[in-house]
Amino acid sequence: MSTLTAKDFVTDQEVRWCPGCGDYSILKQVQTVLPTLGIPRENIAIISGIGCSSRFPYYMNTYGMHSIHGRATAIASGLKASRPDLSVWIVTGDGDSMSIGGNHLIHLLRRNFNVQILLFNNQIYGLTKGQYSPTSEENKITKSTPFGSLDHPFNPGALALGADATFIARSMDRDPKHLQEMLRRSHAHQGTSFLEIYQNCNIFNDMAFEVFTEKGSKPEEAVFVEHGKPLLFGANQDKGIRLDGFKPQVVSMSDYSADDLWIHDEKDIYKAQILTRLFDNPTSDNHLPRPFGVFYAIDRPCYEEQLHAQVAHALSVKGKGDLDKLIAGNETWTVL
């Protein structure tokens, strides 16, 4: 298995995303990480919905299904329930997962099948050529909202936490190293991993995440969280976030020491509530930076484990089913 390389995961299909699309980087990082995970290639199934992002399976030389809009999560649930031996990855867009597929997403999260969700968030409908999506910011001017959108956007991390997700993380297409690390963490987690990836759609929503991804602004606008470490950011790690009660505040490290800061704890659901809520508009005054990394990761039994435990229990109590007895039922009579 260790002999697999990224090349083994490339297909003969021409990749058809627009040149410059953030999807390319994500594809590359997935192809880089998968061979290192020790999973036989034939045991990997990638299930996607519909959208630019959902073309992903065609470019991955594993088993894969490009399904219908919004339903990848539900298809993956049935696949994992019936085949717990497979490594199941879901690739979905912001519209696919949170608009048409919102219902299946929350139910997958609460059930906690051991699968990975890679949510390509470009805050736009790419494939249908540029309508606003459930993650687009308010007042967005798009083809379908010439006077600005009225919808209040979803905060994906908070949504996932509200649905009792057991693993919530955020990364970005423009930070390959971080993205690779998040992919590894997602795979390592036993349960549903919800990984939101900021992905640039250079055609319909270019630079949507510029402040977080570009060299000049990234250090000031993005805070990378790590378990057990203080929330530090700034070009020279000169700023920190501390908790004043429940309220996070930015402080200067010339006034505070690392011990005074908010120490990240992936297992703390209360802190995760606050962390996922760091979602300020980066153009607003006194805003907090946007967090990246693993926000929350706890253990809870996986659905498919419990399902198959029930089956095993039924088998041990009742024995292997006797079809003739089942067909005959409890009351029979004989006609001579």
Binding site: T11, Q13, P40, R41, E42, N43, I44, A45, I47, I50, P57, Y58, M60, N61, T62, Y63, G64, M65, H66, S67, I68, R71, A74, I75, A76, S77, G78, L79, K80, A81, S82, R83, D85, L86, N103, H104, H107, L307, Q310, V311, H313, A314, L315, V317, K318, G319, K320, G321, L323, D324, L326, I327, A328, G329, E331, T332, W333, T334, V335, L336
Partner: protein
């Protein structure tokens, strides 16, 4: 023991009362007892949509009709010989369907001024006290009072005591039809074994009802119906939904596949989900999904992984599943979609029966999306049809729609069930590796049946991608090529049409193979058509009956059969659906007979209609 026992040929009895009166339970207990007695039978449970509709009101009446006989029985009967009415509303709703001269057994306590008012009877107009029931034999029994007396020593509250009323009535009927109480005693033991006071009260009420008949001079006659002359063998009683569950498990075992049911509760399909969730030790997985879309797509995921994916629902759920059915058709993987039809459109009449969704099954998807359709014609037929649906789905790598309906789903009949070894195996071949000389896996390379290989994740060297986008022939790669699309649409259609080579030819179920009139039916109208056509043949009419199991594709010889009859009449419980498809495909001037009232077509109705076409 009092009473002379008269032997009669058949009885149609209806139990009616508040939906909280335990009517369905009383009916099904009497049915089991009747079945064990060896009579042939057919039942028709008929209940309101509300779980606990307002007590005593007309819309709250729940009914259970049972037809049993020493001869063959194909329908629950038109009008009843005996009505058991637990209250005034139950009498009012059912009065029109009691035979003149029939027997009415009433619980007098259900005719107090409050009940009369709720049933819209004027205060001074108690039907038990005026002459309106003169043409019937009426037995008035104060069931409530007698039950309470029988339970005088019990420590249960009055409300709980009153709940045993139905057992009193059942006991009385067991006396009237010379029955043994054992089957219901066994049932009560299983149901209340762990609650001794409830068990006691039910048993006591049952026995008290029996003794009441035995000791009261009021009732002079008892009846018995001789065993039906049926084929020798071992029988059980079966409802359509239970038969579907058993058929699905059998198909899974016969194919060696894990069964995966993805379902979302909906009347009248939920019982299949309930049943299958109990059969875990048969390698059955059930998944109650968040909606019908997740129900079918999770099943698609399971089939993709190599399980036998099943999804069960009714009309509104079918509407939600439509897009995913198209995906399954494009993926060309096995999937059985079961629709227990009910009255539509929209939420329609959820607890009533209708052959509502044939058009939807046939045409109701985007694009050219042919999916085989198979239909069940009686409760026990559901078993065989479920197996057949799975067989076609697996052997032809296609989703299959199975249509049943509320009437068959809840109705019961005796069933001479097969032994598991009588059921033929279903052949499954997973593609596990490249064949000799095969360089690259071609997921859409077809065999002589136009069937592609079933390749599931887990096998090295066969990694491939499938999806809902149009595919290039053979490779399965995405293709927008114009000619390829036309070719693929035609190929998918041809694949479904070709199934006709693998199903039996249509037989003439009754009558000569040519003549004046052919009655063509599908689904739950089988019983009433059989009964009426049998009678008309006896009376000398030139009439035959064909009942379809396979609706898509139709059996190959169907067109030929039409040519041999002067008239084709198609009775349906809808506004004319099969008739449109038949006219379209065969250019036959078929005559529609339709009833859309939420209940089955009666013998009298069908016979009346046919007689207007006999020319005699």
């Amino acid at each position: 023991m009092s009473g002379i026992i008269n032997e009669i040929e058949h009885v149609v009895i209806k139990f009616a009362g508040d939906s909280g009166d335990g009517i369905q339970l009383t009916g099904s207990q009497f049915t089991t007892n009747t079945a064990l007695r060896g009579n042939d039978l057919s039942t028709f449970p008929d209940f309101p949509a509300e779980i606990r509709a307002p007590l005593g009101t007309l819309p709250g009446v729940s009914g259970f009709q049972l037809h049993f006989s020493s001869n063959s029985v194909y329908t629950p009967g038109d009008d009843c010989d005996v009505l058991v009415a637990m209250n005034a509303a139950a009498l009012k709703v059912n009065l029109k369907s009691i035979k003149k001269g029939g027997t009415i057994i009433v619980n007098t306590d259900g005719f107090d001024s409050k009940n009369l008012r709720l049933a819209n009877y004027a205060d001074d107009d108690n039907p038990l006290n005026n002459n309106s029931l003169e043409s019937y034999t009426v037995h008035k029994i104060d069931v409530t009072k007698l039950t309470r007396e029988a339970l005088a020593e019990s420590t249960l509250g009055v409300k709980e005591k009153d709940r045993a009323k139905n057992m009193f009535v059942l006991g009385f009927l067991y006396w009237m039809y010379d029955r043994d109480l054992a089957s219901t005693k066994r049932f009560l033991e299983e149901k209340f074994g762990k609650k001794p006071d409830l068990f006691d009260s039910n048993i006591k009420a049952l026995q008290a009802g029996y003794n009441f008949g035995d000791t009261t001079e009021l009732f002079s006659t008892r009846y018995t119906v001789a065993k039906a002359v049926v084929k020798a063998g071992v029988y059980r009683s079966i409802t359509g939904n239970s038969a579907i569950s058993l058929g699905l498990v059998t198909a899974a075992q016969k194919s060696g596949l894990q069964l995966f049911l993805g379902s979302y509760p909906i009347t009248p399909a939920s019982d299949i989900l309930h049943d299958l969730s109990k059969y875990k030790n048969f390698n059955v997985i059930t998944f109650q999904a968040e909606d019908e879309i997740a129900a079918i797509t999770s099943s698609i995921g399971a089939s993709y992984g190599g399980s036998l994916g099943i999804t069960t629902t009714s009309g509104p759920g079918m509407a939600l599943k439509a897009e995913a059915m198209g995906l399954a058709m494009m993926l060309e993987i096995p999937l059985v979609i079961i629709n227990i039809q009910r009255g539509g459109p929209s939420t329609g009449l959820p607890t009533k029966t209708e052959q509502s969704d044939l058009m939807q099954a046939y045409y109701g998807r985007n694009g050219e999306c042919p999916i085989p359709i198979i239909s069940a014609s009686s409760p026990s037929d559901c078993f065989y049809v479920a197996i057949e649906a799975c067989r076609i789905s697996i052997e032809h790598m296609t989703p299959v729609i199975l249509l049943s309906d509320g009437f068959i789903a809840n109705g019961a009949e005796p069933w001479k069930f097969p032994s598991a070894s009588d059921i033929v195996e279903i052949k499954v071949t997973f593609k596990k590796s490249l064949d000799e000389g095969e360089e690259k896996f071609l997921p859409y390379l077809r065999d002589e049946k136009l069937v592609r290989p079933w390749s599931i994740p887990g096998y090295a060297g066969l990694e491939h991608r499938i999806g809902g986008l149009e595919k290039q022939d053979i490779t399965g790669n995405v293709s927008y090529d114009a000619d390829n699309h036309e070719h693929m649409v035609k190929t998918r259609q041809a694949k479904v049409d070709m199934i006709a080579n693998y199903i039996p030819e249509q037989e003439i179920n009754l009558g000569a193979d040519s003549g004046d009139i052919l009655i063509l039916g599908w689904g739950s109208t089988s019983g009433v058509i059989t009964t009426v056509v049998q009678k008309l043949i006896k009376e000398g009419h030139s009439i035959s009956h064909c009942h379809l199991r396979y609706i898509r594709p139709f059996p190959k010889n169907l067109g030929n059969i039409f040519k041999r009859f002067k008239k084709v009449i198609i009775p349906e419980i809808n506004n004319g659906q099969l008739v449109k498809i038949i006219r379209d495909l065969y250019l036959v001037d078929a005559i529609a007979y339709n009833k859309i009232k939420g209940n089955p077509i009666t013998q009298a109705e069908l016979e009346g209609f046919i007689m207007t076409h006999t020319g005699k």
